[in-house]
């Protein structure tokens, strides 16, 4: 049997490279199949098929999509392990060949086990000091070259062993159709296999522009690898393309939901059973809503740009691709908004998009629900103190700024028109985001039902105050009771500045009522068309709730 030395010297890695490529291709194919299955099979069925039979069939078909994701992940893991193993072994081969060449150039003999011998030194006269000096020099070089050969062989053995250990952590039963936790297992497989071969995750710059540039210069293979093996990290990165984030986040969601439902207790030691159940519920709500949107026509497709399952849940979802939109709106909701609000929030951004689309004369419009912060809770007369102070808004502000910056970065060199809309306490968050740092970077800001924007003047928002739009229903109790107090001056009133637009709806939550001008005026602003404007309100004395 040939020695390791002989085999490494002669090894052709073409087969290994081809195998790695083939597994990667399987993964990419699975990604494509899953996307086509979503948009051409389940999506249209959701739109047209209702009832118990539909529920049963769609449950099965959703499981098929999950299995596509499992194979996508497992195949990419195998491909990455093979490629990494090939890389390190080929590197070891190069080191070995270089050491052998150097040895041969210097007159050493190399045997089949990679052992160097030096016939020249042996032939030198023992009583000649110069010859012995030469022999000592040759002896040192031989030791150095022998070390290099031994190290190369050791590196190759390690690469092989790491590869074997990584592949051994993968279990074919993951693709068994009765395996309930296959998606979760595939995620764990990635962690184990990458650890075994010593691969770290992507080192993504935090700055959205830098992240966009980082992504742009990656090879297509690296992009596919990162998206598949590190979906949560890629999906959460502001500045990356929206379709990439969407695909990654949907995969991460599948894996997290599956783990939360079927994973062992060791994965959930840090949280209570109630919290685990809450996360499962949040993830189901989100997934179900996304599934129902899979048949949406072009321009109405949903992009999951970020999510968090913990506590009340968070989600950032775009309707229409913001990377290519001429006009983009980001809606920041207010108090009591949780994952359960996703359906309604999507309904609202859908209406805003329809309106803006028409006022923009057909230019592409994307609208985004940004539940990317921990919105305060308030119910009935039991007002949580978080509603009354700026804390949650200031906590969420850097993330909102980061997101808007990422939206711009993903749009590239062109300057798309971006509007950020805040409702209720969401307007406080928008205000904090605009007032802090270098500003929000929005072209227009809209606030409706605002109790205050953390500042007393529109001119404090790091933008042209004439692009700060305020909608205020005459009977909005939140404006009446809470503005001019702890959250800043009433934006609807004259001293604040900015411009008020016509609102024909009532109360605090009617700004998107069906058949309302309030809605259409927001659509106009999103499209860059001035709305029907009304005078600023007179300065008023606040009525503190009794």
């Amino acid at each position: 049997m040939a020695s390791d030395f002989t085999r490494l010297m002669k090894q052709d890695f073409g087969d290994l490279e081809a195998a790695a490529r083939a597994w990667t291709k399987v993964s990419e194919d699975m990604d494509g199949y899953a996307a086509r299955h979503r948009t051409r099979v389940t999506g249209p069925l959701y739109a047209s098929w209702k009832g118990d039979d539909a529920d049963a069939a769609l449950f099965y078909l959703e499981d098929v999509e999950t299995r596509f994701g499992v194979v996508r992940t497992e195949a990419m893991t195998i491909g990455t392990v093979l490629e990494t193993t090939r890389f390190w072994m080929e590197q070891a081969q190069t080191d070995l060949r270089n050491a052998v060449s150097r040895a041969e150039e210097n007159g050493y003999a190399v045997d089949d086990d990679g052992v160097l011998t030096d016939a020249q030194s042996a032939a030198l006269p023992h009583n000649d000091p110069d010859a012995q000096e030469l022999a000592r020099g040759r002896g040192s070089l031989r030791v150095e070259l022998q070390d290099r050969i031994d190290q190369a062989l050791q590196d190759a053995r390690k690469a092989g062993a790491d590869g074997v250990r990584a592949l051994s952590s993968l279990d074919a039963t993951v693709t068994d159709r009765f395996n309930d936790d296959a998606a979760a297992e595939s995620a764990h497989d990635v962690t184990d296999a990458m650890k075994a071969v010593g691969l770290q995750g992507p080192q993504i710059p935090d700055d959205p522009k830098a992240a966009a540039e980082w992504w742009k210069v990656l090879s297509p293979e690296d992009r596919a690898r990162y998206e598949t093996l590190y979906p949560a990290q890629i999906g959460a990165t502001d500045g990356l393309p929206s379709d990439v984030r969407d695909s990654a986040n949907r995969l991460a969601l599948e894996q997290e939901l599956n783990d939360a439902e079927f994973g062992g207790p060791e994965d959930f030691r840090d949280i209570s059973n109630d919290e685990r159940n809450k996360r499962i519920q949040n993830l189901h709500v989100l997934k179900d809503r996304l599934d129902r949107g899979d048949g949406a026509p072009p321009g109405k497709e949903l992009y999951l740009l970020n999510y968090k399952s913990a506590h009340d849940g968070q989600a950032v979802i775009a309707m229409g691709n913001p990377d290519t939109a001429a006009h983009t709106a980001v809606l920041v909701p207010g108090t009591n908004t949780t994952m359960d609000s996703v359906d309604g929030q999507l309904g609202r951004i859908g209406k805003l998009q329809n309106s803006a689309d028409k006022w923009s004369d057909g230019q592409p419009v994307s609208t985004i629900m940004w539940l990317g912060y921990d919105a305060p809770e308030a119910s009935g007369g039991d007002l949580n103190t978080s509603v009354l102070n700026k804390g949650r808004a200031e906590d969420g502000a850097p993330d909102l700024r980061h997101f808007v910056e990422g939206t711009r970065a993903a749009q590239g060199d062109r300057h798309g028109h971006i509007t950020v809309i805040g409702h209720s306490y969401g307007s406080t968050t928008v205000g904090a985001a605009a007032a802090g740092g270098h500003g929000l970077g929005a072209d227009d800001i809209v606030v409706v039902g605002s109790p205050g924007m953390t500042v007393d003047h529109a001119s404090d928002l790091n933008m042209d105050p004439s692009h700060v739009w305020v909608g205020a229903a005459s009977d909005d109790p939140i404006i009446d009771d809470f503005s001019d107090l702890t959250l800043g001056d009433n934006p609807a009133e004259e001293p604040f500045g900015g411009r008020n637009f016509e609102v024909d709806t009532h109360g605090h939550s009617g700004y998107w009522d069906d058949g309302s001008d309030s809605l259409d005026n927001q659509g106009r602003i999103i499209a860059g068309v001035p709305p029907a404007e009304v005078p600023k309100n007179d300065n008023d004395i606040p009525l503190f709730p009794g």
Partner: protein, 173 residues
């Protein structure tokens, strides 16, 4: 003001008696919704926009017409999937820039004649501060939004409140 114009008669023949109060507040969220089929609502919107165009003295580009049936969203983000909808009907008309103010004036006069409340009005100032006329029927809560979208195009739109087709069971919220 008496409001008996032909537009209103056409509009409310099917649904007027049911069009009050729905979706207005939490207390009223389970009130019966006005019933109108999607086809009938679209037909009405077509007739209505045709009439608006006639009053404005413009010719609609019917190929640009679009009827978007939107989900009704409650004030606490509730969405009922029982068939209820809100119609957003839009159609463009080619109108040269120099006529935008005239069109706005004619539409305002027409809406006022029909008894609608004018909620927004602006005459054409420049390519940014464009013309618009918005109107509302407070009784039925239909709204009309019209205005310049470019120097050569004018939008006519109709929005309805939340409605539900006949024969569909309204699910409680």
């Amino acid at each position: 003001m008496a409001r008996t114009g032909p537009l209103r008669l056409a509009l409310f023949g099917a649904a007027a008696l049911l069009l009050t109060g729905a979706c207005m507040s939490d207390d009223a969220k389970n009130d019966p919704l006005p019933r109108l089929s999607r086809a009938r609502a679209t037909q009405w919107a077509e007739e209505h926009t045709a009439r608006m165009a006639e009053a404005a003295g413009v010719e609609l580009d019917r190929a640009s017409a679009e009827a978007a049936f939107e989900d009704c969203v409650g004030r606490k983000d509730e969405v009922a999937h029982d068939g209820r909808y809100s119609l957003f009907y839009t159609v463009y008309a080619p109108v040269p820039r120099e006529r935008h103010t005239d069109v706005a004036r004619r539409l305002r006069a027409d809406f006022e004649k029909e008894g609608f409340r004018i909620t927004g009005y602006r005459e054409y100032q420049d390519d940014r501060l464009t013309a618009l006329v918005d109107a509302k029927d407070d009784e039925t809560r239909f709204s009309l939004a019209t205005g310049s979208v470019s120097p050569t195009r004018y939008l006519f739109s109709v929005r309805t409140p939340c409605m539900i087709p006949p024969g569909v069971t309204q699910q409680p919220q």
